[in-house]
Symmetry: C3
Subunit: 215 residues, 3 copies
């Protein structure tokens, strides 16, 4: 930390990485909360409005991620290893992409979101996105290591719960849904939601590797 | 650029990277054009011949990509960052792989290519492959920055159009195709074609990152 | 090799990488053998016991992979390029994950494993896992280059055979299985098994790149 702190004095541009990552993490948290609203909204048109908000946040995150890569190309000195910055930016971008994809597919396939698997997944993703925000925000000063590691542990638990919800949902789907076309549609949405929890774990893994090196 | 130019005088082996990338990009362009021929050919056996040509080009590209990785392991000095060369080679290889996969699956699944989604995708992929060739070829001297960036902008627009064609095709498929097994087959081909446009965007992104650093 | 050998004297901690990789490769080999037992076992409950053993090995490998990443973050000097160590660890972890997934899905979907495609795939994966072990183990002293390269050639051939078995299995599936829901289930298992052979090839490719640089 000593060398890092020293460098920070001479490299105020480093702040840009923290600022961009925090904006991304804030958007991810909002998207997690919005996805739960989407799944809780019975009306197709009202859901469409919420999905439009998800899309706006996803586009905003694309721009922020693009800025992160541009800064990475431009700055010789970075607050963490370049590969970790790259991987963290990519993983957060993936979380946002798949949250938006989950919401979009519900209306696209005209699936009724009043479904145990979808409800449970949306709750889980909301929690995962909250912990992602906590972990990413903690990177700036790394003073609250306990807070960061608690968030990482929760994200790993959420990923495991995601696997269980996926298995439960797929099992019920094949048992109870006679229409194979409906099976294809719902299975795809479950898969996308399960990938969200995987991508949150990717975020967690890279943050763990960052704090091992720098803490 | 000054240091780069200086190094080039002493490191003529650097040329090998440009030569290999240009051969790959030429093959990708040919494959894009061939895929459109495949989709436009109503006769199964004549399509099989065209798909065989796709396969030959894909194998040739595998060898070229392998050569690129070997050169990367062998050369200490490279014209761009090692990670960018690796990523560009991988992305171009993916474009070729998925174009071939798209063609192959049409005959494998005995799908009738006289289908609006398949036709639109094939036209789009042909255009994408052309722009990939322009962007990759421009890397050698980087004199025509405007030409490169125009190609990158077009590739990004093609990726967006790919998403729209995919959504349109899937929506029609679920509406109009009563046989779930046919839904599975065509959906897979649409997915592969959509991935081609994603992989073209990966090529575009790494080229953008290269020109930001070196231009 | 001279510099490498010199460093090894002063950096005995380097051994940790070889030890961890060998443990992972041993587990992968066991898992390949177990998957063949799973597919050969007609009784659901007895299969469940074998799948439980696969799960234990997969968890053990997760821990080993995690240790590898921790060592990579901790050690400045590594026996190969850091990116190669990272990629090798990731690829081996993927092989283990997908072998376990293949076994798990057989009981999860209550699929009868007495199926030509599943049988052929399990035999192929067992062979692939054996060759992976040989190639990884050879990295420690690199004295038996011929043994390593023979293993790599076999893995590449296994990946090609995997593609053929996949195509054969999918073709039969669409021809003979009238229930689209069954098509979805079996197709997913074939896909996972085919990915195992792809991931073995990833292992092979990174080992090839390591021996090109260091041999």
């Amino acid at each position: 930390m000593a060398l890092q702190s020293f460098l920070k004095i001479f490299m105020p541009k480093n702040k840009i990485f923290f600022e961009l990552f925090e904006k991304v993490a804030n958007n991810v948290e909002k998207m997690g909360s919005l996805l739960k609203d989407v799944v809780g909204e019975p009306d197709f048109d009202k859901r469409a409005t919420l999905i439009g908000q998800l899309e706006d946040l996803e586009h905003a995150n694309d721009d922020l991620t693009h800025n992160l890569f541009t800064e990475l190309g431009r700055n010789f000195i970075t607050p963490f290893d370049r590969e970790d910055i790259h991987y963290l930016a990519t993983s957060l971008d993936d979380v946002a992409d798949y949250i938006y994809a989950a919401g979009k597919k519900i209306n696209f396939y005209r699936v009724n979101p009043n479904d145990t698997g979808l409800q449970k997944f949306a709750e889980l993703i909301e929690k995962g996105a909250e912990q992602v925000k906590i972990a990413v925000t903690g990177l700036r000063d790394m003073k609250n290591m306990r807070g960061i590691t608690e968030a990482l542990v929760k994200i790993n638990s959420i990923e495991n719960q995601g696997d269980d919800i996926f298995d439960f949902s797929i099992e019920k789907l094949f048992e109870n849904e006679p229409d194979a076309k409906e099976v294809i549609k719902k299975r795809e949405i479950y898969q996308v939601m399960e990938i969200v929890t995987d991508k949150c774990e990717d975020v967690s893994n890279v943050i763990e590797s960052i704090i091992i090196k720098y803490a």
